[in-house]
Amino acid sequence: MNHFPEAWGRPRDDVYGAYNSTYLQTSGPKAHTTSPAVTGTSVLGVKFKGGVVLATDNLASYGSLARFTDVKRLRVFGGKAVVGFGGDVSDMQYIDRLLESIDIRENYSSHGNMLNAKNLHTYLAKVFYKRRSEFNPLWNHILVAGFDADDQPFLSSADLLGTTFSSPHLATGFGAHLAVPILRRKFPDERGIETISREEAIEALKECLKVLFYRDARSLDKYSIAVITQEGIDLREDEQIEGQSWAFAETIRGYGSQTS
C-alpha cells in the first residue's frame, strides 16, 4: 500500500484505476459559467393605461427537476420599479444584492433614490454586457418595469449578452414563444396602451401563465404578479393559477402512452 501523504484519503489506483486528471486541467483556456444551474423560466410583462404588470411563476428548476417551489422572481427596486428575473437563480440573487447596495447608496442623499425604471434598465443592461465581455456572463433574461423620467409606463428587457429590447408586451424564455403571440393577438399595436385597462392586462397575463403551465414543463401553477402604477406597487407572491382544464390533453397524440 502507498503510505505517501499525497495518496491519503484517495481511492487506491490499484483498485479504482488512476484518477482522470483531465478534470484538473491547469493549462488551456479558463472557463467561467458555461451553463446555468438552478433556473427560473418565463417572465411576462404588459403595459396598460397608467402602469405595467409583471408576472412570473414561483419555480426554480434544477435541470428538469422542479427543485424549489417558492422562489420569488419579482424583485422591487426602490419602491418604484420591479425587475422580473428569468434564468440562473444564484445570478439573480447576486443582482438583487447589487441593486440593494445601489438603493442604500442612493438613499445617502436626502432626495432618496431618484433612479427610475429606465435608469435601472440601462444600468442592468450595461452590467450584463460588461460581464459577457469578460466571458463571465450573468445567466439571466430580465424584464424591468416601472416608469420613465416623463412618468410614462416603462417596460424593457435585457439578457445575458446585454441585448436590450422594448415593446408594450414582453416575455422571456418559453413565454417568448407561447405568451407573446397571445399578447399580440389580444393587444395588437394599433390598439395602443391607452385602451388597455389594468384588469384586462392582469387577465391577459393570467391567461398566458395558464397556457405556459399547460405546455412548459419547467413551469408551475403558483405565481407572483406585480402591478406597478403611480400609486405604488401591488406585489402578490403566492397566487394560484385558477380554472385549469386538462381536457385537451386527451386529444394530444404523439408521445407518452398515446403514440398513435
Binding site: A60, K72, Q93, E100, I104, S110
Partner: protein
C-alpha cells in the same frame, strides 16, 4: 494646562509621565467648539438633532446636511471638525456595506459602534496621523422582525423550528457616542458640542432610562434641548436639523429619515414657546424683555 511646553503634546501617541495623551485631549477641545449635537433613545425609535450655526448668509438654508445616513437604519451626527465627521461617516458606510457583504443583512448598531470605535482609536496610536476632531453620535434601529437575508428568494421548509427560539426578543433602538479617544458608550441620551452641559442637564430630566418617552415627544424634546443649549451663543443664528429612526411599525418603518417638515416646524415652534415662557419667568430678575428671533 500646566503640561503645555513640556513636549509631551507635540506628537500623537506619546504619553505624558502622568499618563495622558495630549493630542487626544486637544482633539476633544476641537469638539467642544462644535455645534451642539444630541441623540435621544425613545420607546419607538431614536432621534438625532444638531444645532447648525449659520456661518454665512450666503449658505442655502436647508442645504449642507450635517446628519448622515449609513445603510438604511442608522444615522450619524457629529460635532467638531466637519470634514473629519464626513470621513468618519464614509468609514461607517464602508463598514455597514462590508457587513452586508459578509452576513447578507443590516449591521447591528452595537457592532457598527464597535467597529467605528476601533477605527477612531487607531488614530491615537501613530505619530503619522492626528486623532479625529469629532465626537459622533450613532443612532439606529435594529429590526425587531426576522428579516430576510439579502437576496433571499424563498421561505424554505414550512415545518420544523429551523433553529429558531420562540418568543425571543430581538432588535430595538441603539444609541452610541464615540469620542476622539475611540471611547464609546451606549446611551439613553447623548450630547456633545458647545452646549453639551446644558443639553445633558435637560436630557437627565427626561428620565429616559424608564423607556417611556414616545418618539414624537422625543422629537419635541430634542428640538427644545437644542434651543436651550443655544441660549449661551444667542448672538449666532442657527438652523435645527433633525432626523429619526422608528420601529418597523412606526413612522419611518425602521429607516433613518429626516423628520418631516411639518413636525419639525411644530417642534421648533413649541421649543421657542417653551423658551419664551422661561424668559418671562425670570424677566423681572434680568429686567429685560428680550425675545428670541422668530
Amino acid at each position: 494646562m500646566t503640561s503645555i511646553g513640556t513636549g509631551y503634546d507635540l506628537s500623537n501617541s506619546v504619553f505624558s509621565p502622568d499618563g495622558r495623551n495630549f493630542q487626544v485631549e486637544y482633539a476633544v477641545k476641537a469638539v467642544e467648539n462644535g455645534g451642539t449635537a444630541i441623540g435621544i433613545r425613545c420607546k419607538g425609535g431614536v432621534v438625532l438633532a444638531v444645532e447648525k450655526i449659520i456661518t454665512s448668509k450666503l449658505l442655502k438654508p436647508g442645504a449642507n446636511k450635517r446628519i448622515a445616513t449609513v445603510d438604511r437604519h442608522v444615522g450619524i451626527v457629529s460635532s467638531g471638525l466637519v470634514p473629519d465627521g464626513r470621513h468618519f461617516v464614509s468609514r461607517a458606510r464602508d463598514e455597514a456595506s462590508s457587513w452586508r457583504g459578509t452576513y447578507k443583512g443590516p449591521i447591528p448598531i452595537s457592532a457598527l459602534a464597535n467597529r467605528l470605535g476601533g477605527y477612531v482609536q487607531a488614530y491615537t496610536l501613530y505619530s503619522s496621523v492626528r486623532p479625529f476632531g469629532v465626537t459622533s453620535i450613532v443612532g439606529g434601529w435594529d429590526s425587531e422582525a426576522e428579516l430576510a437575508v439579502d437576496g433571499q428568494v424563498g421561505t424554505g421548509p414550512k415545518s420544523g423550528a429551523g433553529g429558531k427560539v420562540e418568543g425571543a426578543k430581538v432588535g430595538g433602538p441603539g444609541l452610541f457616542m464615540i469620542e476622539p479617544s475611540g471611547l464609546y458608550w451606549g446611551y439613553y441620551g447623548a450630547a456633545t458640542g458647545k452646549g453639551r452641559q446644558a443639553a445633558k442637564a435637560e436630557l437627565e430630566k427626561l428620565d429616559l432610562s424608564a423607556e417611556k418617552l414616545s418618539l414624537h415627544d422625543g422629537v419635541k424634546e430634542a428640538a427644545r434641548i437644542i434651543y436651550v443649549a443655544h441660549e449661551d451663543s444667542k448672538d449666532k443664528e442657527f438652523e435645527l436639523e433633525m432626523t429619526w429612526i422608528s420601529s418597523l411599525d412606526g413612522p419611518t418603518q425602521g429607516r433613518h429619515e429626516e423628520v418631516p417638515r411639518e413636525l419639525l416646524d411644530e417642534a421648533e415652534k413649541a421649543a421657542r414657546r417653551a423658551l419664551e415662557g422661561d424668559d418671562e419667568e425670570d424677566e423681572g430678575a434680568r429686567g429685560s424683555g428680550e425675545q428670541m428671533e422668530e
